[in-house]
Symmetry: none
Subunit: 211 residues, 4 copies
């Protein structure tokens, strides 16, 4: 199923619109009509370029997966001989940026977050091609800090504690804006949140090691 060249104006417009709509509405609620309207394209274009709604979703995933990876590399600035502590900080910052940044293609984070609570048929692909490599990178860092094998169950749980915090600062957006109308953990606060999570986690991890 090789759906045509990729140098079409309509095709690009559809993918961009689709990305936003999928992230905002979720795959099931998103409608191809809406996407095409926003892209200024005819409905049938979706069949021509992507086969069907599924194909479009897949194309969006594949494309922005890569782009997201390039824009926010999980090892951004991480040097091989760097201290694990600093590695962790950089990882967290990269992760937070990826999921909280606005603009293009930041909605990829939202889309991914949604797949966690409401997995679609595409979830397996996401796990293999995006989530697994990122998670492995984190477990390696945690493994170095704890001084235990990255296959150790305890390493996984600590890694999850780190990721859980990061994701929550994204997820909690709607609830925070209601609980504390003045407060704002928006994209601008990324640096602050990075510091908090890093400190919070390093203590938990180090102590665990010491135990």
């Amino acid at each position: 199923m090789n759906y045509k060249k990729e140098n079409s104006k309509t095709r690009t417009a559809i993918m961009e619109a689709a990305g936003k709509v999928f992230a905002e509405e979720g795959y099931p609620k998103a409608t191809v009509r809406d996407i095409c309207r926003q892209a200024g394209a005819n409905i049938a274009a979706i069949n021509y370029h992507f086969g069907d709604k599924k194909g479009l979703y897949l194309a969006v995933l594949k494309h922005y997966q890569g782009e997201s990876f390039e824009t926010y590399p999980p090892d951004l600035g991480i040097k091989e001989n760097e201290k694990p502590d600093e590695k962790l900080r950089k990882y967290i910052r990269s992760f937070l940026t990826r999921i909280m940044d606005e603009g293009h293609p930041a909605w990829f984070g939202r889309l991914l977050a949604r797949e966690f609570t409401d997995p679609t048929w595409a979830f397996d692909i996401l796990v293999e091609e995006t989530i697994r490599p990122h998670f492995n990178m984190l477990t390696d860092i945690v493994s170095a800090i704890l001084g235990k094998s990255s296959k150790d169950r305890i390493v996984r749980m600590n890694a999850m504690s780190v990721i859980g915090q990061c994701l929550y600062f994204h997820h909690s957006h709607p609830v925070i804006s209601r609980l504390y109308p003045g407060e704002n953990f928006g994209p601008q606060q990324i640096e602050e949140i990075t510091n908090h999570i890093t400190r919070f986690s390093l203590r938990g991890l180090l102590k665990e090691k010491a135990k």
Copy 2:
């Protein structure tokens, strides 16, 4: 528009079925047909008893909100003069149980978790009537541990770090089962996870206090 006839067998059956379906599928994906079929009721009964799908969702929320509160009180076993550390442990266990327990009415936790990433029009109600009191209770505990005012920004962030971990161990279910097919952080491991999160968080919190 006051649908108060609460002494109907059909009504009860519908609410029970609706709870399960809404939690499993989410509000948008859930269909009234499915709910009625599972409840053994006629479709029109929803109109009669609840007005429409929205009314049904609201009724389910209002009803099980209270029931969930009773079944999993956030202060379960917490005594006034207990140490903050122990309070935190109990809070975490209660929280985890509420969102990971199976059976009735545990799906309320799942429903709530879903509203975090995919808020519907009912989210405001949930925030005010369920989330806020729970969150306040946690900030009080954290406030005591850190020795800072519960209105302090730093307290909020630490509280979020705690909740974030809890929620993630629930959300990550689908991804964990794919990343590590043998592994299982399911409902049965609640005690183990409680211990992990409590230890991890206490260290972070204590050190923060010491700083």
Copy 3:
């Protein structure tokens, strides 16, 4: 999949319209929109009463299969102790009437004829429930005339020669009306055609026997 009671006005109207349209256009070309319009019903009614287009086709088949059987019994007037020759004549008349009669539910014949050249998924059902019993009845008659077992290959071929003629006088309608504009082998000529086919076939059969 028990689709509701059968005492609905709309349901009846749809089935009647569907029968005509399916026979005229064939299953693939027939549209549910067209059927509903002719029946004065809403499109969604088809989902309510029959599930989908397939279910409707099946319902039409099942219903009119029986009705056709009752209106045109293949053994109409055939008595047990009658001569095979006379049995054959009556069978042929019944067969011709069934597929050439106009009005309700004569289009069932057209529908059946269409399935021969363009079988749909429903063909297996038709073969088992309608075609096989009719064909068996004919092979029994032919078997008696030829004095051979009804399982004999030669019996089958002769039976097919009889049926082939009958069906063709129906199929050839469009071609006849073009080749010989004045001519007409329409429903009114059923008796004449019955006589022709019966005589033509009896000779072929008897001689075969004598051989």
Copy 4:
């Protein structure tokens, strides 16, 4: 609207593919996309070479009509001074071969057979240019056997009895394979079927004459 560029590779490929697809699926169900894909051609090529789907069908008909005539001449081997009986046998064999043979361009027979039960707008053309000459040839033979004018109504009916048998052995393929799974009146049995129909028909015809 005269599309005469017949010296194109694409054009030839499309016509060949179209023939197969039209015969297999029928005109309405066949899609130009499918045809073009099988021909390895671009969709727009159909517009260029044939105007539209209708024009393509027409072109296919016109072209293979002639080719079919050459490959399976209805008077194959028939000599002028031959006995009518032998003429009939040869005609039947030729007819059967044309509609039951596999390979190229045998599907023209299938296409023709389909037009009988499901005439399209092209049926008039087929009647005039293909069916009429064939049918006239048969009525001449029958006329000779019966010793009556070929304009006689009785001649026509007998001719139809012959053709009806032939067509049915083709049409009945799907039903036979279901009624008698082991049995097979397929293309390989052409000779056997020829003999059967010829004998069966000659008896009917001769007796008719004698009457």
